[in-house]
């Protein structure tokens, strides 16, 4: 089966699993919680869980609870993230807190968090041994802790006097890449794969996840509203320390640096100033720098993947393709 068809098969199974399990009262709370899941999404992380399970000698079926768990956990982070960033659109629809209010948004995120565990615990009913489920739950917990730390770092970067590329890499590896890496780990654990393989799957995804986020940063500066699913220049308006901002602040002359800082995080900045600053950042060479950095992480990911062997050739091939998709230039 080709990757796109298989991704659709997995997505359908994961969505069915989520809709069957995420039910309750009050209705408003559940509507708010399911909003982003219903709005679509590539279901990339669940696919990583399922493929990692297969590569590790497990079935697709035993991985579905874990796949649903990471998608639900991911959705929880999106709901809270959007509140924190005051984002109004996501996946082309109004954000949860715009529709139901910040208070309900906070609770909806919390509910999703709990349901991520509920989904993974269902692996017990798929005759996965409880030792493995416990290990997978440890991985889910490390993922949740790491993502929270990453979100805090993302928030604190603008306050740091001399935020450096290392700080950025630390932040995105926690905020974005970790959940891909732990998705691979959870799949491997559920399958009962040996530690070395699990660690290779984990590291490949960690590197691919960093490359993915760097390319997402670039897209945020050069993409259009339709591709982004949200207004252009959101990152600039919100004052995000993307790799482009960090690089250009380090490399621009004082005048241009001041211009960038005057617009960065200014939610009322007009489109002309935003365009001007985007142009300054482009001219600083930030995009070329970011692109080469992303290329480095991408090749690390591919190198690790090359060392992986599996009886399930098809799954391994698709895992490589997923990484290829994550690291491809989308700008």
């Amino acid at each position: 089966m080709d990757l796109t068809s298989y991704a659709n098969v997995v997505a359908k199974k994961v969505e069915d699993f989520i809709y069957n399990n995420l039910k309750g009262y009050p209705q408003k709370l559940y509507e708010a919680s399911l909003h982003y899941i219903r709005a679509g999404g590539k279901r990339l992380r669940p696919l990583v869980v399922v493929l990692s399970s297969r590569i590790g000698g497990g079935s697709e079926e035993i991985a579905i609870p874990g796949a649903a768990a990471v998608e639900v956990l991911h959705t929880f982070t999106l709901v809270h993230d959007d509140i924190i960033d005051k984002d109004e659109f996501r996946r082309g629809v109004p954000t949860v807190h715009k529709l139901w209010g910040v208070e309900m948004g906070i609770i909806a995120g919390d509910l999703l968090f709990a349901y991520a565990y509920k989904c993974l615990l269902k692996a017990l009913e798929y005759s996965v041994p409880s030792e493995r489920v416990a290990k997978a739950l440890e991985a889910l917990t490390e993922a949740a802790i790491t993502v929270a730390e990453g979100q805090a770092l993302d928030m604190l970067l603008p306050e740091m006097e001399n935020a450096d590329i290392e700080d950025y890499i630390d932040m995105v590896s926690k905020k974005t890449a970790a959940l891909f890496a732990y998705s691979a780990k959870i799949g491997g654990i559920l399958a009962g794969a040996e530690e070395r393989l699990v660690s290779n799957l984990f590291n490949a995804m960690m590197n691919a996840g960093i490359a993915f986020q760097i390319r997402d940063d670039i897209l945020g500066l050069v993409g259009d509203e339709k591709t982004l699913g949200k207004p252009v220049y959101s990152d600039l308006r919100e004052g995000k320390r993307t790799i482009l901002v960090i690089y250009s602040l380090k490399n621009l002359d004082e005048g241009k640096k001041a211009k960038v800082l005057s617009v960065l995080g200014n939610r009322k900045a007009d489109i002309d100033s935003l365009k001007e600053v985007a142009q300054i950042i482009r001219e600083s060479g930030a995009i070329e720098y970011a692109d080469s950095l992303s290329e480095m992480y991408a090749s690390r990911a591919l190198e690790i993947v090359k060392s992986i062997d599996s009886n399930d050739r098809e799954a391994l091939e698709m895992f490589k393709e997923v990484i290829g998709f994550m690291i491809k230039r989308n700008y």
Copy 2:
């Protein structure tokens, strides 16, 4: 050992466990997360976990990870609750979001949520079989889901045209009582107690928890700032549908009802109007009604406890005393 001394012993062990496990970077995030734990608290829920474990034939030691987990989960709900209710004080200190901002408060709550699982998963290192740990994790997850539903109901009650006593009981059993009940369940599960005993411990705490919350509602109307750890009449200002409000809205004449509604949820209400409304509520007979309702749940709790037997007489005695403490009139 008497209950107070034993409660202190357990509190100390739970606090040590939490401080040893809740460490990480960035520091600000961890400071914010530990703020309420450092500010004190009765550690009632951890005590329930430990006593339930002992009653079920388990040790104090194997229950500590579970005890820490429920305290950390409880703390997470406080942090998010305070944001939702816009509360400025808790346990006599400024709330987390007042000190670190709403954004950091949201993330700090999320981090605590994840650490609740991390704490409970440590039971694996105390040689608790992984089947039991998995069951305890299921209970923790049900608790988290139930509390989120309860918080949403609490938020939605004011919008409900004819919120009734049943809606109130449903809400408090989820928002407040459930975590006591699941604390008992987690203790029983970790000890490997038989189902019937676990269910008795659970139901006793569910009823005691409802009585506890009703009495807390009464205290909110008649208590002083020092006892409450926050400004008087917060419940009225925030428009909370306490049992007193629900009862009086059902039983007052139209004029007085209008007066109550005019102040309820009005954050700018002056102290004289608040006092007047408090007086109207008192005269409606709401306190007597709430008191008798609480008494009913209290005696149900005591009745269930009477049917429990255990080889650990001391633990059973203390469990009864904890219930006695929860249901005693504190106003």
